[in-house]
Symmetry: C2
Subunit: 398 residues, 2 copies
Amino acid sequence: MAPKSLPELPPIAGVRLATAQAGIKYRDRTDLLLAEFAPGTTVAGVFTRSKAPSAPVDWCRAALPSGRARALLVNSGNANAFTGRRGVEAVGASVKAVTVALSCSPAEVWLASTGVIGEPLDARKIEAALPALAKALGADGWEPAARAIMTTDTFPKAATRSVALGGKKVTINGIAKGSGMIAPDMATMLAFVFTDAKIAAPLLQQLLQQSNAKSFNAITVDGDTSTSDTALLFATGQGAEVTQKDAGAFAAALDGLMIELARLVAKDGEGAQKFITIEVSGAESDEAARRIGLSIANSPLVKTAIAGEDANWGRIVMAVGKSGEKVERDTLRVLIGGVLIAENGERVEGYDEAPVAAHMRTRDIAIAVDIGLGKGRATVWTCDLTHGYIDINADYRS
Amino acid sequence: MAPKSLPELPPIAGVRLATAQAGIKYRDRTDLLLAEFAPGTTVAGVFTRSKAPSAPVDWCRAALPSGRARALLVNSGNANAFTGRRGVEAVGASVKAVTVALSCSPAEVWLASTGVIGEPLDARKIEAALPALAKALGADGWEPAARAIMTTDTFPKAATRSVALGGKKVTINGIAKGSGMIAPDMATMLAFVFTDAKIAAPLLQQLLQQSNAKSFNAITVDGDTSTSDTALLFATGQGAEVTQKDAGAFAAALDGLMIELARLVAKDGEGAQKFITIEVSGAESDEAARRIGLSIANSPLVKTAIAGEDANWGRIVMAVGKSGEKVERDTLRVLIGGVLIAENGERVEGYDEAPVAAHMRTRDIAIAVDIGLGKGRATVWTCDLTHGYIDINADYRS
């Protein structure tokens, strides 16, 4: 389900990129990304809710109140998670190497790691790679950047938007990785978004959280939450300013970009053969709708039915029923591919499965559920559960 | 992982059983079980927490306050769930047929249905079968009873215990079905337990709830909660009396019997090749320990790693971290097959994977997690996630 081509990402004033093969785990693949930001760049971040977060997540959380960034360093192949004191030391050594190469302070260096959990990360490989990496920095190289952060991903993920703000154009670029919302052994979902707009850190944080709720928090592959999920948004301040009262156009573009990246992650779900969009309406609140959507999206029985092209709507009813949210059996409506299947607590009179069965044979499956109780709505994206998922995850580490 | 043979279940004074082929869905298989109870029989029940429960679950919940039972009627092949008004009518017709055949009142008739969701249940087949079924009632027939309630189960599940109460022997028999804690399309886990002890309904309910928390609420196959989960405990009152102050021995025997049945259900999990026992200790409370255990047991990434015989302890850390319960990364200890792998926030010094890899190749996998924060403990049982699960559930209905 890879897109035909990667979009062309323009340069962003104040962002320079470079990648390298540091040999952290993979052979003959880039596994290190360095981004350098202009002085004055602000940053916002959202992180995994796991109680066992990785060392780089701890580092970024501690740095967040400063809201300032001069560099981002990302490695793939090793998550530096559950690595104890040695993990903290690896973070320290990596940060130090960046500050030396780019002449910045430690609190302005942002880190993310993705890969195996529990294996010590050898920071000497990162230290050794950094001088050449710093020399190679340039304004282009978005596709190599998207590739360097991949783990089990089958295609690189990138998106771009531009917004006119009072006659000036502002650009937003984003890259992401993740194959399985969460494939914790190849730890997880990472997303990095960059803009030349000038945005104060508190507003930037608010914009990121709002867009994240509609995008990365609305996708799932297997319901497993990684130790390392990280989304960072950098604003270099080289272009037009976005303020609280005119943030609408920028927020809309950011929503669009982050939803595009999130959908790409769900499409690259491990073993995925079908992309599933679940629209929930009529719930008590938007948050309740999102939870009901995720209950459907995470149900192994719904996901295997879709893999088998079986219009098994009874399993959707089951998943709604187990969501823990307020639901009334007799006000629930279930549609697949736009066809109403069930309402008033039973299958509709004269239900014809033929058009639904035809829809199930397509690649893009649309499920809609109306709870019939309130005005809450949400859209959730996921993929099916196939033999490919078992193959990848039963064999991966060994 | 079927047991070598079904245990021999003795008669229970006050219980008579019969089975029939009503042709509800299956051909050449029994699909109807009738149990008749002596006057004075008390009953306790626990049911699915689904917000979309089946019509028989609604019926039993409404009957529960009476605490009285004269009959139990169970059909397999159709869950009578999400069947609306017609489902309620099918319940009414089935109950009426039982009251006519056994001369009892409707409030004393207990029902359970398991099978496809959303297909109307044709009660005429049940009405037609009942007169012959009532005539065939006898004190034996526990194995046929265990078989008549099966759906995708690969073996019948039964257990028996006896307890000496003040010089008198009391017997407890139980049968269960479920292949997958929850395989909602073949809807679910059903368990029926019978004893000749005399136990007042409120105490019986308390005993059932206590044992259920340690048994059926501590197993999972896929985390999907069915529309129809039902466990009923009948006490015919023909033997010794159990009172609140001497309930300990009976409760211990009931625990043992229900845990045995629950473990059989997990062993028969769809596609299961390995049986997994997860011991959680050191949590803030027993309930927190159970939730952490279920988070591990329901993680597709833990389950596929075990299917692949991969000692992938990082995924266990991930599943503990996402449980939502209080956890400290640095006090957590993880053991597989009794071997300590991780503590103090990292892998133990000099960890040798060889004995753990050998344990992973066995059929009975033991995972232990100590949270290091309190005294809460729980044991949870599950099975691995294999290609067999995908085969069964991607193909089942079509």
